[in-house]
Symmetry: C2
Amino acid sequence: MKRRSRTPSGDAFAEFAISVLRLAGHLTSEGDRLAQPSGQTSARWQVLAAARHNAMSVADAARTLGLARQGVQRIADLLEAEGLIAYRDNPAHQRAKLMTLTERGKTVLDEITARQTVWADALGAETGEERVRQATTLIADVIAILKERGMRR
Amino acid sequence: MKRRSRTPSGDAFAEFAISVLRLAGHLTSEGDRLAQPSGQTSARWQVLAAARHNAMSVADAARTLGLARQGVQRIADLLEAEGLIAYRDNPAHQRAKLMTLTERGKTVLDEITARQTVWADALGAETGEERVRQATTLIADVIAILKERGMRR
DNA sequence: AGGATAATGACAATATGTTGTCAATATGAA
DNA sequence: TTCATATTGACAACATATTGTCATTATCCT
């Protein structure tokens, strides 16, 4: 039984998708490595960074990060228990408290950010700004298409 | 205290890394959606595809997929329990049995692959083969750099 | 051949992330 | 205002993935 094979561009896209998944694994490892000296992980770092960018609720952060709300909730509760973030009252919503960094949270995030700067500068220099920007644009396009298609389902 | 900010290319790379992580989330969801009608998931599909490509041990598959050996082992044992793969004796290694697809495994993988073909063709056509190939090349470069740097650590 | 070293699967602990359910709270439309 | 609908966090179950340890088996070097 003969099955339809992919078009050339479909083939290219399939390879692209596999590459993205593999790279994501490496990037998470790198993030863990950058966060580790401060006792953190990629996941916690992401939440800290979202909270610093501006005070937001857990649900907001989940949307920003493209993760499930409850996963972010779990991390945020851990960060709060460890004193890296605090839940501040939200004038606009009684239940959805706003995450804010504590002094310790800021210090920790600064440390990680400093390591990331060195890391990103080295990789950016080695790979070339223009290619990286073009790839980022493509990725944004793909995400937009998938979101759009997701809406229609 | 003034901290060093990222270079332009470092900044581009940092954005790129975030994009990749977000896209990976979407791609895993899409994979789950493609595999779901056949009762499978992204993770199981990846292992089935590796086993079909050629009979290999769990450790081989883990390297191919860029995942931890034990995670793949877990999935493979589930697939074996459900009769989608079988462990065949490895003439070259007593312990490292070779994963092979059963008839049912082949059928299931074919079903998923057929759905993926439609999916990848549509996305490839919409995004453009050339851009996709260039992005894939960049991703391969980044993975190579990270592996190389990882070796040196 | 023999011995150090690496690879492998079993087992277990833990981190990450999704999904589903529920009650409380917001929001928007009639 | 009021009522349907959506959002939110709590709670729980489960899938995915990494890390570490161990005994067994391969591999490599001398």
